[in-house]
């Protein structure tokens, strides 16, 4: 196995307890991503896309197998180590934005930096730069409840890129957006990928998303049925 892979999955299986038995959501997944990829998981509903992203993002634990980020197996990470990994190396973009409701746009974007104990002045530069990337500098003082869905998703993008993570996991980022906003978002993400070299991993049904992907991995019933680089 190559060691300069950013993400490596080795025989990963995820089973959920269901009633008395178990449901296998992912079985024997082998995958690797190198730095700078712009890849996506596609497949029908229930095929395991979200589950796979959650495992890579250390939001959930695999039942079997190894998941390596930067060569380090995260399977047996402590709560603290997982939290640190998410804070420093992984950015998330969710379908429903998940902004913190009581903070302003600025504070939402600033939040990951505060956790990293970055000094205030540096934070300001970084936050404004991130907001600049997504074109939202002028609404920095609004609250999430005062902005549109498309804007909210751009704020979420700013929040995920502000700390310059190596990986951004985006679970159906355009599902709640109209096509104009969806394209806008994908343009932004593509730019970030190209200019900052951030690795993107999507999950999507959306053809507008799929059009942008440079690598498409198809899942069905928890198995990889196709993995193609465009």
């Amino acid at each position: 196995m190559s060691t300069n892979n950013l993400i490596e999955l080795h025989q990963v299986t995820k089973r959920f307890p269901v009633g008395d038995g178990e449901f296998t959501a992912l079985s024997d997944i082998n995958l690797s991503f190198s730095k700078g990829e712009f890849a996506g998981l596609i497949g029908p509903s229930g095929s395991g896309k979200t589950t796979l992203l959650n495992l890579i993002g250390a939001l959930d634990d695999s039942t079997e197998g190894e998941i390596k980020i930067n060569g380090k197996n995260i399977a047996n990470n402590s709560d603290e180590a997982s939290a640190l990994l998410r804070n420093e190396h992984i950015g998330f973009i969710f379908q429903s934005y998940n902004l913190l409701p009581v903070y302003t746009i600025y504070e939402n974007v600033e939040f990951p930096l505060i956790l990293q104990k970055i000094p205030k002045e540096d934070r300001k530069i970084m936050v404004l730069q991130a907001l600049e990337w997504v074109g939202l500098k002028d609404i920095a003082n609004k609250k999430p409840s005062q902005i549109s869905g498309g804007q909210a998703q751009r704020v979420a993008i700013a929040r995920s890129i502000v700390k310059k993570p190596e990986i951004i996991l985006a679970d159906e980022p355009t599902a709640n957006l109209d096509s104009e906003n969806a394209y806008k978002i994908m343009d932004i993400l593509k730019n970030l990928n190209e200019e900052l070299g951030i690795t993107f991993l999507f999950s999507s049904h959306d053809s507008k998303v799929i059009k942008y992907l440079k690598r498409v991995i198809s899942l069905e019933d928890g198995k990889i049925i196709n993995d193609e680089v465009k």
Partner: protein
Amino acid sequence: MIQDLLLNFKLAYKNIISAGLRTWLTITTLAFAFLLILFFNSLYTGWEYQGVKDQIDWEFADGQIIYKEFDKNDPFTIESGHHQMIKNENIAPVLIRQGNLYPQGRMLPIAIKGIPANQSIVKLPTHLFHESKEEFPVIIGEAMATNNHLKKGDKILLRWKDKNGTFDAKQITIVGIFHTNVPTIDMGQIWMDIDLLWKMTGLEKEASYHIVKGNYNHELKSQWRFESQQDLLKDFISMVEMKKGSSAFLYIILMFIALIAIFDSQVFSVFKRQKEIGTYIALGFTKKRVTLLLTIEGAMYAILATIIGSLISIPLISWLGVEGVTLSSKEQSQQMGITIGEKLYPMLTSKLLFSSIFWIILLSTIVSYLPVRKIAKMNTVDALKGKK
């Protein structure tokens, strides 16, 4: 670590403040409970302080040497409750006899108390005995005077028994009315020069008890027992402490309501804010830290309530400490022989302040923690999706 904690406090503050009216209702209730705690306890502390001081100044001095057959709570022990006095320049003898006054044709059973005219151990204005030209000068307290419509200069018939049990009677003259908060040296009694009382009764150099100034460290004969200031004040202090306890009822109920409100909002948080909790975790919080954050949120109610409560109650109670508070039960207390002033002056001690703050914050923190413990068992992925 400190930085993390500070951040948690900031976030917690933001979160509860943005919750609006409900937050302020809870904080107000808690702050009000806090204010009542401080007010009532300060009031009783002030009373206790004043009462102790008054009783020392007027009655107990630095202790009393009491004839063992005499019990101040039992009038039947007065008759034979006396003995040859102890001679010492730092103690003053007091002899108590029973008698009847006949003001305006009524009969008023009273205690006649004799005390040396030249004593300066207690505040009783006994110097008036010598300054007066009257044959039988007595002084009485203000409550005794008011209750029985007596005034300075009144001449009243007094009947008493001498040591042989023979009745005798003389006109006494009220030469002074003193003001005291201590009803046990005021109500139902008259004070006269002990020399005079000795002569009237033939109980030369006899005393029921002595008032002590300073440290009395001479050996006592077995007929006498020494009661220290503390012994003498014990009943009063425990009575005030009991009153303190009974006033707790009001603020305990308020505290209870506030704690339930906090508990309730914490249950609500864990239930309704799952998506937010999941987001914190996705952004790099551990579950422990989210639990801590939400616990601090709950504790924040108490922190804000004690800050606001302090800002109101410290100046308020300090002001009342100067102005005084009139208690409606004052008359009743006096009739029961309890020392109480016209006004009570609340005394807010730092011990009371800080221990109340400590307890309120501790209780709120515990109540806040109980519902949010659940976060540890929460599934992050489910939480992120929000409430299903």
